[in-house]
Amino acid sequence: MIEAVGLTKRYGAKTAVYNLSFQVRPGAVTGFLGPNGSGKSTTMRMILGLDNPTAGQVTIGGHPYRRLPNAPRQVGALLDAKAVHGGRHARNHLLSLAQLSGIPARRVDEVLGVVGLQEVAKKRSKGFSLGMGQRLGIAAALLGDPQVLLFDEPINGLDPEGILWVRNLMKALAAEGRTVFVSSHLMSEMAVTADHLIVIGRGQLLADMNIRDFISANSADFARVRTPDSEPQQREKLTSALTEAGGQVLPEQDGALRVMGLPLPRISDLAHDADVRLWELSPHQASLEEAYMRMTQGAVDYRSTSDQRAGLQQELPPGAMPPVQVPVPGQGQPGWYAPPPPQQGGQPFAMPQGQPAGPYGAPAAPGGPGEPNPYAQAAPAPHAAPDMTKPEDAR
């Protein structure tokens, strides 16, 4: 069990983690999600006692890591697959770590077998691919047969076979009653690996819930309805009929309609009553990726813009047509992934406002109640981009 209470970390003026409280329970794979720079790795380092929190604390089994008896036998971690001296053999790398933790050398050969690196055990890790490095890092985490495991981006660079292996490994470790805490950016993988999610953005907790609850809470299931492309008036007709019946209708980019608040059979009935033919009527269940994107869209620090290529623009020869810019999903289009929020007029997601008492009785803001939440102002306003194809603006 990992428990963080009011965890805060500042680097000078920058606040990396702010008032973070969560629990990671044994017997489940807990996914740790958040945009780049949201404080995931900082949190992991604080769990391992590598960085000292500015305020608050994080404990493993009730002890801060640095006071944990026999820590390396209780906690295993993969922080950075590249954190290996390239000139050292894989086996010697693991051997030095095993000796450091008082683990017999026999165990080194065991874990090399577990991660499938026996063949290259005597090779310098300099020549390892990213995937092999990840395997070596996972081997190091498994060395002490620990009850608590932390993995920071363990599947980056792995081949499909390796990804499947890691997925099954995580699940198996959790099934044995261990605490497994995994950060990743690969949503599709998280969706099938994790049981529970902790999502942070800009160093603050955005969500701490079961993965199924997370998806349904942060996305609206909707129906996609398509009327014949050739008859736009049918589309208008259906839109007004559905809106009258209490549904929420938004245009999709490809001309279809996104309908919320009405069950599929009801949509079909309404269309029939309005004498509108349907080319498509399909249920749409949001993916973890969509739910995640919607939750974190306001907490993304590093966002790409669409490539104007203005710096490369040359005078077009007379008569030539400028190249058509095809919009890239997600690029320069904040909220592209985001269906509108389930609640009307609400914040697009539950960015903490003010200082609510933490779910674990966390203290209010470290540094006294008078201190304003540095992120309260930064809570994102709904995007006000002029692009009319975006669902938010259609509201």
């Binding site: 971690a77 590249k82 050292r88 053999h89 010697n92 770590l97 095993a98 000796q99």
Partner: protein, 256 residues
Amino acid sequence: MATTQVVRSEWTKIRSVASTVWTLSLAAVVTVALGMLISLLSRNEWDSMSTRDQLFFDPTYTSFAGMSLGQLAMIVFGVLVVSNEYSTGMIRTSLAAVPQRGTFLFGKIAVATGLAFAVGLATSFLAFFVGQTTLGEHSASIGDEGVLRAVIGGGLYMTLIAVFSMAVATMLRGPMLSLGILMPFFFLISGILAAVSATEKIGRFLPDQAGNKIMQVVPPVDDDTPYGPWGGLGIMVLWVVAALLGAYAVIKKRDA
């Protein structure tokens, strides 16, 4: 318990990287070879030397002339032992395994120090005997007064240089920054301070100049150094201890 674990682990680490062998053998080869060269030159120039110089000729110290260059390889060894952890990021894995950072730091430095002492002592003896053989009739004998002290002192000097570098590298973390500060410190600053009479007296208290004293058997002309051979080594030890305390304070508090 934790100490023996750290020592065993550090021994595995230090013997499994190529830089250990390279830096230490370079330190030995450069020291011995350059000492031999200077000894050879001294022997050939003997007749053209002034009587004063002949009178104050120190065959032991002459055979250690290569140490001024060989110590640079020792500095690199000391820096790399520590900064390898930081430049690769291993330090996080290591400190996660040994949350007692003092134990980790001193275990690591102890292993590297032991190795540096073994190599330094062997180098010192080798440099002495090779140098004396080259000097021929002007040579000193290991049984002469103060000679054994100077030879063992040569090994201690090289060891202390390495330890000082380890401590500085722990504070600075990066290999480039550490070498960029240590190399000029030992190669330029003490030379510059010694060249100007006003600062000469300050320069004498730098670790390398103070430590050098232990390798002298015949004191130079007009020697007014306020400390003896062991006093000089003591000053160097104080520098090393201060650097180690700094390293300990830093690693204890700093985020890894």
